[in-house]
Symmetry: C2
Subunit: 246 residues, 2 copies
């Protein structure tokens, strides 16, 4: 039996946002590997082994998945959203580095609906012009990098989407992010908090930067900041397709 | 009969990348509206009216869709990729502005797999850290805005994805983009050209900026530029999850 390894994006939560390509890989798999709440989204069936692990062990998880594929298993590593956006695909290639034997394995990355685009769809079209995606977690980068990128994104006139805005272990950092944004973008810029999009707990709140409070975000929230032209129309928020000279 | 309007993302090309949510909307629709090649991707059936129009008439198309929904039709405006990324969602809200009667219509935006994420999955994980998406077309913004954003994206250390890199009407501009990138990022930075991802015409080429040529891109190509840490591992290209101080 020839093994393979798929890194699949499950989308933001709803089954209706899982692509047929990902559904087919899950149906053929012998082993599912991933962070506990993502593995819990895969329906159990006879013969399917579930390997759920905690957060922050991405490299161990990737090596385990590679080992099983090398041994002939059909392995799906599950990510929320899209596996290439602040998720498991990058960790997998990191685990592959320096292990040439594993670089010839049958590996496929299957895209998914990433949280910022699911959130944007609920909000309107806040990412309707040039935009950036920034991971606000400082697990793997110093906060100075976050600040540097926030300022360039703002000065470049990009709309912005933030992943992992706030966690229990770093409650104060997002307050600093909001301060930097107010300095760079002014008080009137629109900011949307999209929590648990496409799940029963979904909650969307759009305010100005002046009204934004750190506690509006948690680890299940994607935050979207408009550019200078982003505005409300009826119940929606959108960013126009056109832009004037800088 | 109560009408509605859905703006749906069909993904980059393959049927296996169309979400069940979008499939369900297409199955319930009475009218499909969109750019000719995207409408051609919807299977005809009795009772389904297809309204295909040419490029650059996005506002007319949006108004037509709103008129039909207001008259009780079930209308799906189809976009390639994700409707919120350089596609029809923003044009729809632009058409809604100043027409309060239409702002109470039943409108939903349904996300799709956007081209840069489908391309990234084929390449490896080139957008595995903070990244920007930039539309290189100057239809709706001066090229000075493009240059301004390119320089901020590069100086901020973002990976970058470019939509609409090159067209027959502006063949020289992408050459200038490559010059700016070489100035900002150096000759050794990796750049990937992903054409027609997920279709039979798919072609992926990764080179350095020194080797990049304008004719490697056309309007069916998404271009991805790594950050300073982006590298090859086996047949893949990925951007590490970690970053050092700027």
């Amino acid at each position: 039996m020839s093994g393979w390894l798929v890194v699949a994006g499950l989308g933001p939560g709803a089954d209706a946002l899982v692509t047929p390509e990902v559904q087919a890989a899950l149906a053929e798999a012998t082993d599912i590997v991933g962070y506990i709440p993502y593995v819990a989204r895969v329906a159990p069936r006879p013969g399917l082994r579930l390997h759920a692990s905690d957060n922050r062990v991405e490299l161990d998880r990737a090596r385990h998945a590679l080992d099983m594929a090398a041994a002939g298993h059909r392995v799906v590593v599950v990510s929320s959203g899209d596996p290439g956006v602040f998720a498991m695909a990058s960790a997998l290639f990191e685990a592959l580095e320096g292990v040439p034997a594993y670089q010839t394995l049958d590996i496929r990355i299957l895209p998914g609906i990433t949280a910022m685009l699911a959130a944007a769809a609920r909000i309107g079209a806040p990412l309707g012009h040039d935009f950036c995606a920034i991971n606000l977690s400082d697990n793997l980068k110093p906060f100075a990098v976050v600040e540097h990128r926030l300022r360039h994104a703002a000065q470049g006139g990009f709309a912005m989407a933030f992943y992992n805005p706030r966690s229990a272990s770093r409650p104060h950092q997002f307050a600093r992010v909001l301060e930097i944004l107010r300095e760079e973008c002014g008080d009137d810029r629109l900011i949307a908090f999209a929590r648990a999009v496409s799940t029963p707990e979904e909650r969307i709140t759009t305010v100005t930067l002046a009204e934004a409070r750190p506690e509006m975000a948690d680890m299940r929230t994607v935050v979207i900041v408009g550019n200078a032209a982003t505005r409300r129309v009826g119940p929606w928020v959108y960013t126009p397709r056109s832009a004037e000279a800088p």
